[in-house]
């Protein structure tokens, strides 16, 4: 398709763009439904690679909305994928993070250099003795404990009233904390931060609308999380969670049950609001090396499966990214209704995944990061050919991608090789 130059009004492409959009999206939907698409879809998932592609710093990518939008558009038009990730939302968050005073990440200008990606700080954000508070009243725990710990805009919320139990004249008197200086300052800070977040999300929306006008669908807008990963990564921290499997297993199971309910409700609401049915769910703690099969069956899988089934029942399409190597989990994670999910694998052997899951889910992935960053175009070509011949050509509903999107350091020539090879070997 001949796309207009960046900056050209999207409407100029009209019906042709709409037809192109529909064809691209249909290839993805065909994979989900386990139908053979007219060609193997290849998607573009880029975050900090966009900085390398355009020759700017990671900091610029995170802070310069207009520049990031322009670069993302240029990349999509150059490589012509079936679909792209919400690039602006996943890259240009610097101002929003700053406005909210986010403490769980370090990003360029805030703890890491301008040419480094943001990195998550694995810490204990909830103590083990706080499980009961979390389980009894997650909202109260968020307001009084969690939010001020993870973002400075919320500092002061510790002094908010405890709402449950307020009644009659106690309710009237109970709102006095809102007059306190720290609470007032916190509310003002949160409102200011929300205004920046509004600008940030508006940039994302403008970008996806423009790309829609040019004929390119976004793979997903909504994201979600496995309940186990939610508690492990964002509350207890890695060490805390691993020892909780022994020291606080009953509390942990209770917290997972609770989290599964509100994660599902929130995800359904955000996915429905986005208008895009695919829900991206990066998983962290499922890999073979991270826990035994018995631990996986007891602690990780049941609450996650409940979330996935809930999404499917809401006519949404869960797209978990199974990080690292999950070969030993394949038989277990097969237990989902056929034709409803996309399983994206990072290091799991894709041919093996196809053998076990080919009649149950679409597949996505998984060119290795080491090859993409240090290899040569002919090696990329061979790797795509391997997947095209051994998965797609044999009936696998494969959506070609890198292992976890395009690694930040990947030479542009290797990305070109990936897209060229996809067309060469699979339509």
């Amino acid at each position: 398709m001949s796309a207009p130059a960046p900056g050209t009004p999207a409407a100029a492409t009209g019906a042709a763009a709409k037809a192109a959009y529909d064809r691209r999206w249909q290839r993805i939907l065909d994979c989900v439904a386990l139908k053979t698409p007219e060609r193997m879809p290849v998607v573009m998932y880029a975050t900090f690679w966009l900085a390398k592609y355009a020759g700017i710093t990671y900091r610029q990518l995170m802070y310069e909305y207009e520049m990031t939008r322009e670069i993302a558009e240029r990349a999509v038009l150059e490589f012509d994928p079936e679909a792209y990730n919400p690039m602006v939302l996943q890259s240009a968050s610097g101002r929003a993070l700053e406005a909210i005073g986010f403490k769980q990440l370090q990003w360029p200008g805030h703890g890491v250099r301008d040419d480094q990606p943001f990195q998550y700080l694995d810490r204990e954000y909830m103590k083990p003795e706080e499980y009961d508070d979390f389980i009894f009243d997650p909202t109260g725990f968020y307001l009084h404990n969690y939010l001020p710990r993870v973002a400075s805009a919320f500092e002061g919320f510790e002094e908010l009233p405890h709402f449950p139990g307020l009644h009659y004249f106690r309710l009237v008197a109970g709102i006095r904390p809102f007059a306190r200086p720290r609470v007032r300052a916190a509310l003002a800070n949160v409102m200011r931060a929300a205004e920046e977040v509004d600008r940030f999300v508006a940039q994302h929306t403008a970008f996806t609308e423009r790309m829609t006008g040019l004929g390119y669908p976004c793979t997903n807008i909504a994201t979600s999380i496995a309940p186990y990963d939610f508690i492990a990564d964002y509350f207890r921290g890695a060490r805390g969670m691993m020892t909780d499997l022994f020291r606080h297993k009953d509390k942990l199971l209770e917290a997972l049950d609770k989290a599964a309910v509100f994660i599902l409700r929130q995800t359904v609401a955000s996915a429905k609001a986005s208008g895009n049915p695919i829900v991206f769910i990066p998983t962290h703690w499922a890999p073979d090396a991270f826990m035994s099969e018995a631990q996986f069956r007891k602690f990780w899988w049941p609450s996650f499966r409940r979330v996935m089934i809930g999404l499917i029942e809401a006519d949404l399409v869960p797209m978990p990214l199974w990080e690292s190597d999950c070969t030993k989990r394949l038989e277990i994670i097969r237990d989902v209704p056929p034709g409803k999910c996309i399983y994206w694998f990072e290091r799991t052997d894709m041919v093996r995944a196809f053998e076990v899951l080919g009649d149950v889910t679409a597949l996505r992935g998984n060119l290795s990061p080491s090859m993409m960053t240090t290899g040569k175009p002919h090696e990329v070509d061979a790797a795509v050919r391997h997947l095209a011949e051994n998965v797609f050509a044999k009936g696998g509903k494969l959506i070609l991608d890198c292992a976890f999107g395009i690694p930040d350091e990947t030479p542009v020539a290797n990305v070109r090789a990936m897209f060229d090879a996809a067309r060469k070997y699979a339509g």
Partner: protein, 220 residues
């Protein structure tokens, strides 16, 4: 280990089976009430950790068991170490010295910390120099510490280049021949090993221990 009492066996078994409460209670009783030799209690712990390591290698145990084992050992060590008399022999001879750190640009440390713990309990002297370690810091530490093995850790793909730079700098400083270099982390594979010029890569902490043990045997 000779002359093992029923109590000794029980401590090892409870530690190896992740029965933390029972194991810590018994260790405290042995150390604080029975007057057991703290070095002997620590040796029992090391034996238990050997069993943990074996179960990890055999696919029975995974990261959670390694982490809990490390915490149990730390708690017993905190009670035992102040009780060790100065005359008690000066401690165990270490197999080799390992310098370990996460390369510059990368802040991840979970894997590195587990490797450090596993090397430590397997008889290596380990110096962990943290995360986001600049190339020059590695050079300075190598000059000061004189390790037999250098371990470079990294989770992000940017670590490939940082590892390559670090190893190139070690070579340029004329230090490369004195040591073995191993790399590890979420994305590390043979392609990255070849790219960086490391001697070996490991997929997990047991791999790291095996590599170091093999090198220590060859060097001995």
């Amino acid at each position: 280990m000779s002359d093992m009492s029923e109590q000794d066996r029980q401590l090892m078994e409870w530690l190896a089976d992740m029965r933390e409460d029972e194991a810590l209670q018994l260790a405290n009783k042995m150390l604080l009430e029975d007057g057991a030799d703290p070095l002997r209690v620590l040796e029992l712990c090391r034996n238990a950790m050997d069993i943990v390591g074996q179960r990890f290698s055999q696919g029975e145990y995974f990261l959670p068991e390694l982490v809990l084992a490390g915490e149990m050992l730390q708690k017993i060590g905190a009670v035992a170490k102040p009780l060790i008399k100065q005359t008690a022999g000066g401690g165990q001879r270490k197999l080799a010295k390992v310098l370990i750190g996460t390369v510059h640009g990368d802040l991840h440390d979970i894997g590195k910390n587990i490797v450090t713990f596993m090397l430590d309990i397997n008889g290596f002297e380990v110096k962990d120099i943290g995360v986001d370690v600049p190339v020059q810091t590695f050079i300075d530490e190598i000059n000061g510490y004189a390790p037999d093995v250098v371990g470079l850790s990294g989770f992000l793909t940017l670590a490939f280049e940082s590892m390559k730079e670090t190893i190139a700098a070690i070579e340029a400083a004329g230090l490369r021949e004195r040591m073995k270099i191993m790399i590890g982390g979420g994305q590390i594979d043979e392609t990255v090993r070849a790219y960086t010029g490391a001697d070996a890569f490991g997929r997990n902490a047991v791999d790291a221990v095996s590599l170091c043990k093999n090198w220590a045997v060859v060097a001995a």
